[in-house]
Amino acid sequence: MNTIIEAKGLTKVYPPSTKAVNQVSFSVGEGEIFGFLGPNGAGKTTTIKMLTTLASITDGECNVGGYDVRTQQDGVRRSIGLVPQDAAVDGDLTGMENLVLSARLYKVPDGEIKRKADELIGLVGLEGAAARLTRTYSGGMRKRLELIAGLIHEPRVLFLDEPTLGLDIQTRMAMWDYIRGINRDRNVTIFMTTHYLEEADSLCGMVAIIDHGQIKALDSPKALKSSLGRDVLEVELPDGSDVSAKLSSMEMVREVSRKGNTYSLKIEDGGRSLQEISVGLWKLGLEVKDVRLTRSSLDQVFLNVTGRSIRDEVVDNGDYMVARARAERVRS
């Protein structure tokens, strides 16, 4: 697989001394969906800004689509599309006018604009709304239009900054399908940021977990989960003495913690171990009242590498307000 984005020691310092991104290195293969997962303020948007020539690079090297981001900005700009976090279409123009304007700014030949715009509008099912001013669109329609506005000049890499922020779950899942389709059918490499774990898990082939401007983990969601996550088996026993020592002596069990009569066993590969552990418990002569298996998730991985849960962060960082402000804007 050819590398299409390559970053080495990428660093951004905002004066006087705020290190928004600190020594970030990664590479993205052509055709991949690569996700930057992290809470607000982690440095995701700043990274996108550097990769897309919106922010200068304080230190490090970066290459996008074969062009040096520091010195060949025009080449980078011609090879990429950006769907920023905020408004990427003009509410006072119709859907079609927005697409045509985008196409003209990228110098798409006049003869091809109409055909390409129609095709993209069909792709995201906006046929009935193309002639309407986009300020009358719902949040989901708007996001779909923003997505295709970033595609009209057929970029090699599409950057999506929080593509489903503030959308409800159905709309979000529909967006995932569009993003997957674009990646698969048009061979567009996608670099996206998100703070939704399910989004990174479901869409991305590779995920970098970023926190405080640094990459804490980088791998496929599956590999991250199996190396850094743990399946947890919760076992409820009848009243009795502490059996933690007996439980931890079992082969599959890595760690045991106890809360009353409920024991949490961190285990390898939950599905396979479940039967063996059941047999083990029976051999120990323990009567089991209840058993619950929690499979390893990216949330656990996040907790493991950053020391806290991403869900706590989300509210703290005013994400709710951002989502609300966006919703207000879409409505007005």
Binding site: S56, D74, P84, Q85, A87, D92, E97, K107, R329
Partner: protein, 278 residues
């Protein structure tokens, strides 16, 4: 070049589709002309004494540089005020684009940074010209309104628009320097509303500078609005200008040209800096 045109068309579409702006643009100059022209009409402030009408006319004509009535005098000033007001708000879409995030969309496109500011500049000049024509028409229709000198011709009309465009280019760049930096529309509104009227009063737009105290008249003397208002007034009131007045008009036009050039140089530099990478 092409992208400048596209972005200019976008701005004009937005203007046309925003009923409040469109209404304000059409009504404001007319209101000014009608209300100001009548409320402040100096002719009505001079008491009418028996047999004094001829003297009164003479006083007024000499005060207002030969204009047959106050609205004829005022029209030149109102034209200038109109284009300066438009120049103040020309960068507004840039501030809105920045706060909504649309500006990033433009900045990642392979277009020149100056296309973004030039497009707003051109659309503002175009709006200014259209509205100036409308103002002239309204002034002509008003009872007791605008009277052109008998020799008034196409060359004079071109002179009027040359003065207006130069004046507007200068102020456009001055305010564009604010707009490229401003994070909020309020910044622009605060600066515009603070400077707008003082700029107008400290000029020959509303009243002749001869009637002002020396310090104010000195300020008005260097105010580009005065230069443009004077040029336009001479062309309206005198028609074919010759001799001493011709050299005054030429000097004022050169002054306006220098103002426009200096502001453009400063403005292009400052706005390219304002739009550079974070």
């Amino acid at each position: 070049m092409l992208e400048t045109k596209e972005l200019m068309v976008r701005d004009l579409k937005k203007w046309f589709r925003s009923p409040a702006w469109l209404f304000a643009s059409l009504v404001q100059p007319v209101l000014w002309l009608v209300l100001f022209g009548n409320a402040f009409n100096p002719a009505s402030m001079i008491p009418s004494l028996p047999g004094s009408n001829a003297i009164k006319t003479q006083i007024l004509q000499s005060t207002f540089g030969g204009a047959p009535n106050y609205i004829t005098f005022l029209t030149a000033g109102m034209l200038c005020f109109l284009v300066v007001t438009w120049a103040m708000w020309a960068g507004g879409p840039l501030v809105t684009d920045r706060s909504l995030g649309y500006l990033n969309k433009l900045l990642v496109a392979p277009i020149s940074r100056t296309a973004i500011t030039f497009s707003l500049l051109l659309s503002s000049i175009l709006k200014g010209v259209v509205l100036s024509v409308m103002l002239l028409v309204v002034a002509l229709i008003l009872p007791g309104g605008l009277v052109f000198a008998s020799g008034f011709g196409v060359a004079d009309l071109l002179g009027i628009f040359a003065a207006l465009i130069l004046l507007s280019v200068g102020f456009l760049w001055l305010f564009m320097m604010v707009s490229v930096r401003a994070k909020k529309f309020e910044t622009l509104a605060a600066i515009g509303s603070t400077l707008g009227l003082p700029l107008l009063f400290a000029s020959s737009a509303l009243l002749p500078t001869a009637s002002m105290p020396a310090w104010l008249s000195a300020i008005a003397g260097i105010n580009p609005i005065s230069k443009a208002a004077d040029v336009i007034r001479y062309l309206i009131v005198q028609g074919r200008v010759t001799g001493g007045i011709l050299s005054t008009v030429t000097f004022d036009l050169v002054y306006l040209l220098a103002f426009a050039v200096v502001c453009t140089l400063l403005g292009v530099y400052a706005s390219n800096r304002g739009l550079r990478m974070e």
